[in-house]
């Protein structure tokens, strides 16, 4: 087994890898603010939040849904949100019939309305089914938001995504951590706009 000394050094290295990508998120504060505003407008119009991702990001999708539906801060209103990764019957059914690439598109097609928000999460920005889900959502008139990582990937470069926040790291674990901070911030700061209802009027939106 490794000696405690070398173990401690590795712990330092692991923690040290987090600081810069978090600072990079702070540098994207303007995009965060505009994304929160756009999301608040959709909630104000009666839209719901639909979240999806693969692997570890599937658990983030569920985390986001519970965050909005059951606020941890007393006094914040509950907002409609659903993860497309929780229904294992539909997920495996669609994957078996049509392939994994269709699992989110299928659910979006039958569960979304134009006022909704689609939030796709992909650590490298290359997930085919997340990209096609966001494109499908955009075609249906949903607001589209993506959390990606690395260099942003194909999802960040796609015209079909309204707001993209990129966690600039090649380590998928670091990307995930920045994503958790990002969606915690999105949740908390969407509510700031509800405290100023004047900024949710249509004239201001356009």
């Amino acid at each position: 087994m490794a000696s405690p000394a070398s173990g401690s050094e590795l712990v330092d290295a692991v923690f040290g890898r987090r600081a810069e990508p978090v600072q990079d998120l702070a540098d994207q504060a303007d995009t965060v603010a505009r994304t929160c505003h756009a999301m608040a407008l959709r909630f104000h119009q009666g839209g719901k939040l639909i979240v999806f991702g693969n692997g570890g990001a599937s658990t983030d999708a569920q985390h986001v849904a519970v965050e909005f539906v059951h606020p941890v801060i007393v006094g914040k209103r509950a907002l409609a949100a659903v993860s497309l990764t929780a229904d294992v019957a539909t997920l495996t059914g669609v994957a078996n019939r049509l392939g994994l690439s269709e699992v989110f598109v299928h659910q979006l097609r039958f569960l979304s309305v134009p006022a909704d928000i689609a939030l796709g999460i992909s650590a490298d920005g290359e997930c085919e089914n997340v990209l096609s889900g966001l494109r499908c959502a955009r075609e249906r008139g949903l607001l589209t938001v993506a959390l990606t990582g690395g260099d942003g990937g194909r999802i960040a470069r796609d015209d079909g995504v309204d707001h993209v926040l990129v966690a600039h790291s090649d380590d998928p674990r670091v990307v995930k951590e920045v994503h958790v901070t990002t969606y915690h911030i999105l949740w908390e700061l969407v509510h700031v706009f509800f405290e100023h209802p004047g900024v949710l009027d249509e004239e201001v939106a356009s």
Partner: protein, 223 residues
């Protein structure tokens, strides 16, 4: 620039109501930007605190986990709400790493909704993890429970059940550790000291990511 300013002024005198709301929007956007930067600073400072406090214990815990895996142990992870998603993420990180590392046996105790609702309905929520551990936890397995408050009754019961069976027990809590800090049944306890449930969860994610990476480093060094 000057022409734009003049144009804006003219528009403002025509539609004063609209422009006051746009000023409001600018102010709110500003507030949100500032808040984003503050929260980013908070999480980086909190990670530094956790590192300072738990550097040695993280390495020791990973050594114990590596030793457990090396002798056929399995990881069982559990938590409620947002922490249930973290426990599922942690289990999946061990079982199905995305970047080519060796898969290790791990189970999320919130994955099977039939088991979870059966236990809740028939007995009660407090036993939802303990009963699963009693059903198939073995000496040499690893139990990891995540809670922001440290007070979840079903986690406390699960740690006691795991400890009784001779499992390695790892607790990841927040605030001051809550009741988890009072248990004798947790071998390695990591407490993320923050008043914010969000920052706690973010630093807890780093804790289990670090444990995963360190466990692999220890396993590789032992080969």
């Amino acid at each position: 620039m000057t022409r734009d300013a003049e144009g804006t002024e003219a528009m403002e005198s025509l539609y004063p109501f609209l422009y006051s709301r746009q000023t409001d929007l600018a102010a709110v956007l500003d507030q949100v930007r500032q808040s984003t930067m503050d929260k980013a600073r908070e999480i980086t400072a909190l990670r530094a605190t956790v590192l300072q406090q738990d550097r040695t214990r993280l390495a020791e815990c990973a050594d114990a986990m590596a030793a457990a895996f090396a002798t056929g142990g399995r990881l069982l992870a559990f938590g409620n709400g947002g922490s249930s998603t973290d426990s599922q993420d942690m289990a999946s990180l061990f079982l199905s790493p995305s970047s080519g590392e060796r898969p290790l046996p791990a189970f999320g105790l919130t994955n099977d909704i039939a088991v979870v609702t059966a236990l809740c309905n028939d007995i009660g929520f407090d036993v939802v993890f303990a009963r699963q551990i009693e059903a198939w936890g073995q000496r040499g397995d690893i139990a990891v429970g995540l809670s922001t408050s440290g007070n979840s009754a079903n986690l406390l019961r699960a740690f006691d059940a795991a400890h009784e069976r001779g499992m390695v027990t790892v607790g990841i809590a927040g605030y001051d550790g809550g009741k988890m800090a009072e248990l004798d049944s947790i071998d390695y306890l990591f407490v993320v000291p923050s008043p914010s449930v969000h920052r706690i969860q973010e630093a807890q994610t780093t804790v289990y990511h670090a444990l995963w990476e360190l466990t692999h480093a220890t396993l590789a060094a032992a080969r």
